[in-house]
């Protein structure tokens, strides 16, 4: 992969399983960049969670998700944008508790998407306003 960043742009509708189109595109790009097999899976999971969040929570009118991939020499960046209602501040700062606790209180059923994304990626940045949400992610190549 050359030093100049390569840009790939993808727009998908908010429709069941469309997140797989985003995940597969991401996986091809990550493979082209010689990411390892485990990292490719991590990238796919992160993008799936970002897309599912937009499907489930954004309530956007255009029902579209815009994804921009930037392929750098040593990292893959992607930004996932919806034009929906945004994330409420108390959710973003973690002060609102999500999901009702089940039998085992540490087995929370909801509020896990962002946690997964953060744990799998190197940098996660969320910009959200009543006009929409952009989740920006960086995944560095190991080694």
């Amino acid at each position: 992969m050359s030093d100049i960043a390569k840009r790939v742009i993808l727009t998908i509708p908010m429709y069941p399983d469309m997140e797989l189109a985003a995940a597969k595109t991401a996986s091809v790009l990550a493979e082209l960049m010689d990411f390892g097999e485990g990292e490719v899976e991590e990238i796919q999971l992160a993008i799936i969670e970002t897309c599912i969040n937009a499907f489930e929570h954004s309530k956007s009118d255009d029902q579209e998700i815009h994804i921009e991939f930037l392929l750098m020499a040593d990292e893959l960046q992607f930004k996932v944008t919806d034009r929906g209602v945004g994330i409420s501040p108390d959710t973003l700062d973690g002060s609102r508790v999500l999901g009702s606790p089940g039998m085992h209180t540490d087995l929370r059923k909801r509020g896990r998407g962002l946690q997964i994304i953060r744990s799998l990626m190197d940098e996660v940045d969320i910009e959200s306003s009543p006009n929409g949400t952009t989740v920006s992610v960086k995944k560095k190549k190991r080694g």
Binding site: I48, R112, G113, Q115
Partner: protein, 113 residues
């Protein structure tokens, strides 16, 4: 994509559920239904084999948590096998590993029920 690819193997004492493909809400609901059926038929010792399950999203994970809780209500147990390294890490992070076993293959998952 999802042909609701679920295989069940029962052998009196325990049952194995094997899923294939993308474990999302749709496949997860099918999986939960099969698990409920098995529990209804008296199977409280279950193995879920995820060998052929390429991707699991967070909705799939919540459904797995529901199955764990349903089994615990019956004093049963669940072991997983066939997880990728990333899936195993995610299960540990989400505390699933505290309430269900994780084993490399079906044999050891069954043996350790």
């Amino acid at each position: 994509m999802n042909k609701f690819d679920i295989q069940i193997r029962e052998d009196g004492e325990h049952a194995v559920i094997e899923t294939a493909g993308y474990l999302n809400d749709a496949l997860g609901e099918q999986l939960a239904e099969k698990a409920k059926e098995l529990i209804g038929n008296g199977y409280t010792q279950l193995v879920i084999n995820l060998e052929k399950t390429t991707l699991i999203n967070s909705i799939g994970i919540s459904i797995l948590i529901e199955i764990i809780e349903a089994l615990h209500e019956q004093e049963g147990a669940l072991n997983f096998c066939g997880l990728s390294a990333t899936q195993e890490r995610t299960f540990r992070m989400m505390a699933l590993a505290k309430y269900a076993g994780i084993f490399p293959d079906e044999e050891s998952a069954i043996a350790n029920l």
